[in-house]
Amino acid sequence: MSVTERYALMYDLDALMKAFGEAGGDKGILASNEIAHLVADGHKLLSMRSLEGLEVDARETLTGISAKVTVKEGIKIKNPVHLCFGILHKKGTQKIRMDVKLEKNSSARFIAHCIFPKAEKVKHIMDAVVELGEGAEMRYSETHFHGLYGGIEVVPKSVVTVARNGRYFTDFTLITGRVGKLDIDYSVEAGENAVTELTARVFGHANDNIKIKEKVILAGENSRGLIKTRVALEDEAEAEVTGITEGNAAGARGHVDCMEIVKDNAVAKAIPIVNVTNPLAKVTHEAAIGSVDKRQMETLMAHGLTPEEAVDVIVKGILK
């Protein structure tokens, strides 16, 4: 790498870290030897670090990044692994391919920030394959910042398998700024005694278009699954939330909990699909779609909040 190239890379890294800091991220993560990370702007890999027992291996592709993260058997990673992906320019496409593997009895927590502050014509595609070995535990939280223009399309897709006694928890948050177009497609298969929880929180404005499809296949005996979705919509925003749970083994327990609050001319749709093929499995679902609860509003107004302030407190609460 030439000096100029290295300088350009540092400049991009600085700019992305600045945006990351503004988005609430901790910029100190790059300096610490004890924190694994991977940072990419568009299809440029800006920085990465592995740790003992945790391999981060990434390369640039024509349109994005292809990364492999492996946590070795029995290793428990103390500090969260930080992933930061973004496009700082107004236009661009970023395709991320992630292969994550947590070997037997390992555990790790991932914090991902996806930052597109100036997006006017941006596309971000995430394709992840996650494999959790027996007794492994993974917590993954992903927070998005799309700026104020709404010119962005985000397509996160992941296929996850959780082996016996494994635990998988994921959390997707997009509540600041515009959403643009979002099309989530997650699918998790849980083995015997495995636990999986998928949570998504999204706030849509203007003509944002939100599609969330989450599927949990309870394949192993006594597996547990929860899909929790919280969506707030205003203006002309639209959302369609599909929560699918399959109960295919004895003792499997699944629950789908979807709440969508709509304001103005927004349109929300919830499609809970429950499929039980084993008589000893049990799956329940609840979906609540509507304007803000009247009693909640009245209670807050009786505390002196204006109707606008009350809606704000309620919406912030459900998206928390």
């Binding site: 107004m301 505390h303 002196g304 909040l305």
Partner: protein, 248 residues
Amino acid sequence: MTSIGEAKEKVPLLEIKGVTFHAGDKGILNEFSMSMEVSEVHALLGANGTGKSTLAYLIMGCEGYSPTSGEIRFEGKAINDLRIHERAQLGITMAWQEPVRFEGISVRDYLSLKQEGTDSSGYLEMVGLSAELYLGRMVDKCLSGGERKRIELASVLALHPKLAILDEPDSGIDMLSTRDIINVINIFRENGSSVLLITHREEIALISDKASQICRGKIVCSGSPHEVAEYYKAGKCLVCDGKVCAYV
């Protein structure tokens, strides 16, 4: 003619003048009148379905609860046309008979609504809950009925209202103990708040300054708490001939 130096007529804090309220074709309040002075604790006793909560909603200004006829005045000003938050800003608030739950709102945030930065631990202790255990919890479905009611009372205490309407603070599965409730009412009193105390329980009504009994949407007896207690125990109600009141 009013001469100089003559005391002005005292304006009641709350005045309900001949309020009738119908929900659809069902009459719930019938020419209901009562008034409350500043710092007065007024117990309102009445059997199930006699219109107590409806009265509370009418005073608070809940949606769908405006008098069919009659007037509600607060500090001398008609408030019929004010919305809930405008009445709250005048100093009226209420603790609901069945308080609603909120997802994602902590007890700490709930107690400091509209007064960010204040320390609300004291209010929890006043209702018999440990601040250490409860401030970080959510005001959601995970609270028991009694815990939620105590938190509602704490939030009303935190507002330092001029008028607190307490709708059956003593009811619920996890009932507040009588001692706790009496303690809370005394704190309101010390803080100079007036309390409209809706209750079924005579021993709680007895700590009020004044009591009234409601039957079929009308006050049937008003006076000292002892007198009112005697009245309904004797089943003398002229409106229902003791049939409804007997359930109090």
